[in-house]
């Protein structure tokens, strides 16, 4: 009962339409970033790259990028480490509270991030911590660590426990098994989890909003400018942030492809 040719065509067309709908706003942002006029109207009459030049020399922009980068890097490292162990507890070992653990991991993903951000602000305040970019790391982890765990868990599900058991029967210690078997087998999952963690932290806005204190991440600054007082740098920085993420994805995918082809050529 496969669908008719015309149904298939309509479905393909619909898919393309949804993708177009998802990316249309980014097209507008892209055009706005190269408009010369300070107050934007379409169609754009004169194009200029002046705002990009401004952004590259701006101190503010450098600070924003540094803060966003610091947060994203630390979040990525902690997420990947906790996701490695978390995924094993989630998918691999048969222990008593495994099902409960799975459900607890899922719960934060079902919570609106703005509310979580405010809750975190009150929590930091009540134990006397002044919010900085470091508290934003804790805030990002509430959402990103569970997602990273789920990504590694998908990989951990497809892994044959007999490999570990065989190593143990031959006398390998738990540490050796981790290093020689578990880690290499989960590696692809860890790489994707790391990529997701970095990009989700880089672009996250609702969790940063209340938890960065005097520091400000790029999405936060953009939001502040959007809500009060437009700056022509908003579309420009928006485009730079998007292009940065997409470049990272392309680099990561080509590196993974490169490693795989090197390994395959060595094996043969």
């Amino acid at each position: 009962m496969s669908p008719s040719r015309s149904t298939r065509f309509v479905l393909y067309f619909y898919g393309v339409l949804v993708i177009f709908f998802l990316y249309l706003p980014l097209v507008s942002v892209g055009f706005a970033s190269v408009s010369k006029a300070r107050y934007l109207t379409f169609p754009i009459r004169r194009y200029s790259t002046q705002w990009y030049a401004d952004a590259f020399v701006s101190e503010t922009v450098r600070d924003l990028l540094t803060t966003s980068l610091k947060v994203a890097v630390v979040v990525t490292i902690i997420s990947v480490i906790s996701a490695f162990f978390g995924a094993l507890a989630f998918a691999r070992y048969n222990w008593r509270f495994r099902r409960t653990f799975q459900k607890i991991i899922l719960l934060p993903i079902f919570f609106p991030q703005t509310v979580l951000g405010l809750a975190l602000l009150m929590w930091f305040n009540s134990i006397g911590i002044i919010p900085t970019w470091k508290t934003a790391v804790v805030a990002h982890l509430v959402w990103i660590a569970p997602i990273a765990t789920l990504i590694v868990a998908i990989r951990a599900y497809s892994f044959d426990p007999a490999l570990e058991e065989a190593a143990r029967d031959m006398g390998a210690s738990t540490a050796t098994i981790f290093k020689e078997i578990t880690l290499p087998l989960l590696m692809p999952g860890l790489v994707s989890a790391g990529l997701f963690a970095f990009l989700l932290s880089w672009g996250n806005f609702p969790l940063s909003l209340f938890t960065t204190g005097a520091d400000s991440t790029l999405p936060e600054w953009l939001y502040a400018k959007m809500v009060s007082g437009y700056s022509p740098l908003v579309p420009t920085l928006g485009v730079m942030s998007v292009v940065g993420s997409f470049l990272l994805i392309v680099i990561a995918i080509s590196l993974m492809w490169l490693f795989r082809s090197i390994r395959e050529s060595r094996a043969s």
Binding site: V18, I19, F21, I78, G86, F90, N125, I154, Y157, V227
Partner: protein, 284 residues
């Protein structure tokens, strides 16, 4: 082996448990405690009086909550209708194209939601991408659809589309082709197959997708601020105002608590029914 699994499972759960304890459990407890403090205090060392909760009714905050829940409900319903055909295509019809759609949709998630919403402002505003070009070529202008409730629902649909699409596609993939084939052979119409085979069998995916988009939309803030121009005050907005301009943390906490209780019970209900091992493909 059994005992080793028990021990290793427990030990490897610790790092994540610590993270969630510090970033999820503790903050929720603090909000709960703050919500019962007398109004306008900034520490937890006061005698609780629950007064902040009475303000919820007396000052009309329930209206924002109803708006939030209503718009979340509307966007979830529309998302379900919009996503079903595409999810069906991804699960049953497309082959390589499923991967293409997945990549494009996931990549859109990496773009900060406020940049994407701001893009819609530039697209839909008067003199924006659509109206500007339309007026330029035809000489006829029209009013921008921005700054009303409809556009907030539109923004929610836009932002939370992936959260409906992927669970739905996963749910539809769990409907066996044999069941649909058998129903068709026995003379069921397309509509009967949809309502009596596909919808019930894809129910886990439908539930996860609907819960996720409803819950996230109910607590959303940026859509109403950027696209809606605060045509409607949503509950997240009230919570934020109580914390920032209002300097009334117990009020903000009690509003947050009410939202958390509604969302939390839905989330726990949903999560407790999901069989993760089945969805994520455990082999043993």
């Amino acid at each position: 082996m059994e005992r080793l699994d028990q021990r290793l499972g427990f030990l490897s759960a610790i790092p994540l448990a610590v993270i969630l304890g510090l970033s999820f459990l503790a903050p929720l407890v603090v909000v709960a405690l703050f919500s019962i403090m007398p109004q306008k205090v900034f520490s937890l060392f006061n005698t609780p009086d629950f007064s902040a909760y009475s303000v919820f009714f007396s000052q009309g905050y329930y209206r924002s909550l109803l708006w939030s829940l209503g718009m979340a409900f509307a966007s979830t319903l529309i998302l379900f209708v919009i996503c079903w055909p595409l999810a069906f295509g991804m699960a049953k019809v497309f082959r390589r194209f499923t991967l293409v759609i997945t990549i494009f949709v996931v990549m859109s998630l990496f773009v900060s939601e406020n940049i994407r919403l701001f893009g819609w402002v530039l697209t839909l505003m008067k003199g924006g991408l659509i109206e500007g070009h339309f007026r330029y070529y035809t000489g006829i202008g029209f009013d921008s659809p921005l700054y009303n409730t409809g556009i907030i629902v539109f923004g929610l649909i836009y932002v939370y589309l992936p959260f409906m699409l992927f669970p739905l596609a996963q749910g539809i993939a769990m409907v066996p082709d044999d069941a649909r084939q058998a129903a068709a052979d026995l003379g069921a119409s397309r509509w009967q197959i949809l309502t009596q085979i596909e919808l019930p069998l894809a129910a886990p995916g439908i539930m996860v997708g609907s819960l996720l988009s409803f819950v996230l939309a109910a607590g959303a803030l940026a859509e109403s601020k950027l696209l809606g121009g605060q045509a409607v005050i949503v509950i997240a907005d009230d919570i934020e105002t109580a914390f920032t301009f209002g300097q009334n943390w117990p009020l903000g906490a009690s509003l947050a608590m009410i939202l958390i209780l509604i969302i939390g019970s839905l989330a726990i209900f949903g999560v407790s029914r999901i069989d993760l091992d089945a969805i994520m493909g455990r082999k043993r």
